[in-house]
């Protein structure tokens, strides 16, 4: 029996690895179920000379376009993405022409009647490629007003990737039973930004709420990949009351890894601490039952001022162990041992690294905006995070990317810091970064695609201080006087490309790296394909 289990597990690793982890395409949000956002294959995008020639080849704007909050996925020369207008599109990756859309033109869009922010407009969930009964399928989450209360319950959809024909639509996995914004008797659940995970014969998706009006009880739902029916043997709820919304995409490796939102207060209300409280946590869930294997909850209920853990986790198969790494909305980034949930490191570190945050410790955990997942490249994690000044100047990291050495000592945690150009520097400045061979891609809220080179690939432009508010000459002196201090000179990496994407608007999603091409979509309602010269 053990042998059979082992074989099943290896088959999963290899098959899903072939389909996702090793794909030259970009078949899932963050590229694969580990959510590493790392394109392993060589291409012109991994060549610092060639990537600097990136230029827009085509753009696609659907009729009646709203913003794109989902990210594109790319598979077998097709691009798949849902729009805020409630339609899902398959495009020819070569020229951007429409191959099919779902629902068909003139059909009822997949939308909810509970509009409050972009997560609740049309299709905000990025898709994933799956194989269903020998047919290649594309799976995504979206509201559907044709069932239940007709207000837009959340469902999972599996479409034939070639034709757009419906293979199955799941029963409602997120219920909307009314639209009174402060009602605590109605259900206001939604899939929102959570991208489905295909894993273990199931599709897993996180459920949160409509704009905290009010918060709902967070959950993860599993449906069978074969027919879309809900597996009632799997059950995870974040609390016994409400809170702990799963805004992020579930990550899969040996088990499931999820992050959860707040539980203490919402728009117009609050509650005492629930007896079951998995809110504001990074969790490992048993893949068949949903049981909590371990929980890392650094912000206690008493300090919960709405720092949702909304970025989701990346599994890093690093040289020092399997790490589960994620930035929390309050600006701290955490690395946890996948096996037992013990903390490898916190960034920045402090007494909280071992004991969690405590009332009176001077730290603040508000509804700040570190919401983007990071990218994992070898032992390096690239992320928008608060940095060394997060305790005193929480917003300073919004326009920055930090590259963190995940296997280094605390002193060497920061590999480099970049103030990303062509971004406002405020909240929502950057989309989620992606990476190939040390070259990092990120979209900005001013409609640019920026490409940054790790200094091992292309020399940095100069040195700056690991503490962004310490001038370099002072920092250099400090580093000389206190060689073990975390305050030291670190590289400011080179920008290889900064491409304007006309009409892109703010870029909320990730750049998908497939072959020699980059695919990215923006709030302006356009999808772009960029290609590097041979």
């Amino acid at each position: 029996m053990r042998r059979e289990k082992l074989t099943c597990f290896l088959v999963y690793v290899v098959v899903i690895g072939a389909l996702q982890g090793c794909s030259k395409d970009w078949p899932a949000f963050r590229h694969n179920g580990l959510r590493t956002a790392n394109q392993l294959h060589n291409s012109r995008l991994a060549d610092p000379a060639k990537v600097s020639t990136l230029a827009v080849v085509w753009n696609f704007q659907p009729p009646g376009a709203a913003g794109f909050r989902a990210s594109p996925i790319v598979y077998k020369k097709r691009v798949y993405i849902g729009n805020g207008n409630g339609f899902f599109y398959a495009l020819n990756a070569n020229d951007g022409s429409l191959v099919w859309q779902y629902p068909a033109s003139g059909g009822t869009p997949l939308d909810t009647q509970f509009h409050c922010n972009p997560s609740s407009r049309g299709i905000a969930s990025s898709a994933v490629i799956a194989e269903i009964g020998g047919t290649e399928a594309v799976v995504f989450g979206a509201p559907d007003r044709s069932s239940g209360s007709h207000l837009g319950d959340g469902h999972l959809f599996a479409l034939n990737a070639a034709t757009g024909a419906l293979i199955w639509e799941s029963p409602a996995v997120a219920l909307v039973t009314g639209t009174a914004s402060t009602s605590t008797t109605e259900l206001h659940e939604q899939i929102g930004y959570s991208s489905p995970l295909v894993f273990n014969g199931h599709v897993y998706v996180g459920i949160a709420d409509h704009c905290d009006n009010p918060i709902q009880n967070g959950k993860v739902v599993a449906v069978r990949i074969s027919d879309g029916t809900i597996d009632s043997g799997f059950s995870y709820f974040s609390t016994n009351t409400r809170g702990g919304g799963v805004w992020s995409s579930v990550t899969g490796w040996d088990d499931l890894y999820v992050t959860t939102g707040n539980a203490r207060a919402w728009n117009g209300g609050s509650q005492p601490q629930p007896a079951v409280n998995h809110a504001l946590s990074l969790l490992r869930l048993e893949r068949n039952t949903g049981a909590v294997v371990w929980q890392h909850q650094p912000v206690p209920f008493s300090l919960d001022m709405d720092p949702d853990w909304s970025a989701g986790a990346a599994v890093m198969l690093s040289s020092c162990g399997t790490q589960i790494v994620s930035p929390q909305k309050d600006g701290w980034t955490w690395s946890v041992n996948a096996a037992n949930g013990s903390v490898y490191w916190a960034f920045p570190s402090g007494p909280w690294t071992s004991a969690g945050f405590q009332p009176g410790d001077g730290t603040v955990h508000n509804d700040t905006r570190y919401m983007r997942p990071g990218a994992a490249w070898g032992d390096v994690f690239v992320t928008a995070t608060g940095g060394l000044e997060v305790a005193s100047n929480v917003g300073i990291g919004y326009g920055q990317l930090h590259a963190l050495n995940t296997c280094a000592t605390e002193r060497n945690r920061i590999r480099w810091i970049k103030n990303v150009p062509s971004a406002s520097g405020g909240a929502y400045s950057l989309g989620p970064p992606t990476v190939t061979k040390g070259i990092v891609f990120v979209g900005t809220n001013l409609g640019h695609l920026v490409v940054i080179a790790d200094p091992s690939v292309r020399p940095a432009v100069g040195w700056r201080c690991s503490d962004p508010l310490v001038p370099p000459p002072t920092c250099a002196l400090w580093g000389t006087l206190f060689p073990n201090s975390v305050i030291r000179l670190v590289p400011d990496p080179a920008v290889l490309a900064d491409v304007t994407l006309p009409g892109a608007g703010s870029i909320f999603g990730e750049p998908a790296l497939a072959g020699n091409r980059v695919f990215v979509a923006g709030d302006g309602g356009k999808v772009f394909m960029l290609e590097a010269d041979p």
Partner: protein, 156 residues
Amino acid sequence: MNLRRKHWKFPATAFLLFCLLLSSGCGTSQKPEKTPLLPEAGPEERNFSPDQSKSPYVEAGKGLLTRTVFETDAPGDLHVEVRDLLVGPGQTTASVTLPGAAIFEVRLGSGTIVVNDKARQIQTGATMAVSEGESFVIENKGENPIAIRVHFIHAK
């Protein structure tokens, strides 16, 4: 027993071939990839990035860095200012007097603050008041910096 072994032998071989076939595009990249640290800046390094903070710390006497985070005029001919103080590991600052009454909030680190010759231990999360005209010295015997947010009000 033998039948069971034979039953597994072929699938195991086929499985290995299957793995090799499918993983050929990935090379060794599925293995943990050690990413070497970058070289350190040399002691004489002066190639500083032009991309720097608009509100950096400046030295305000021996062992003490300070920067203004926020300031504004207030009713009653007053001025409100928020500053950050940073004291390096192993440092003892010179005696400092602020031009107004201040509230100190320790954001990071631990050490000793001496106000008018009275010593007090401070740690992350501690707050204390310093009256107008009082001088203070901060001593950091730890290995990490002490960061203090200071809110103070003084006459314009």
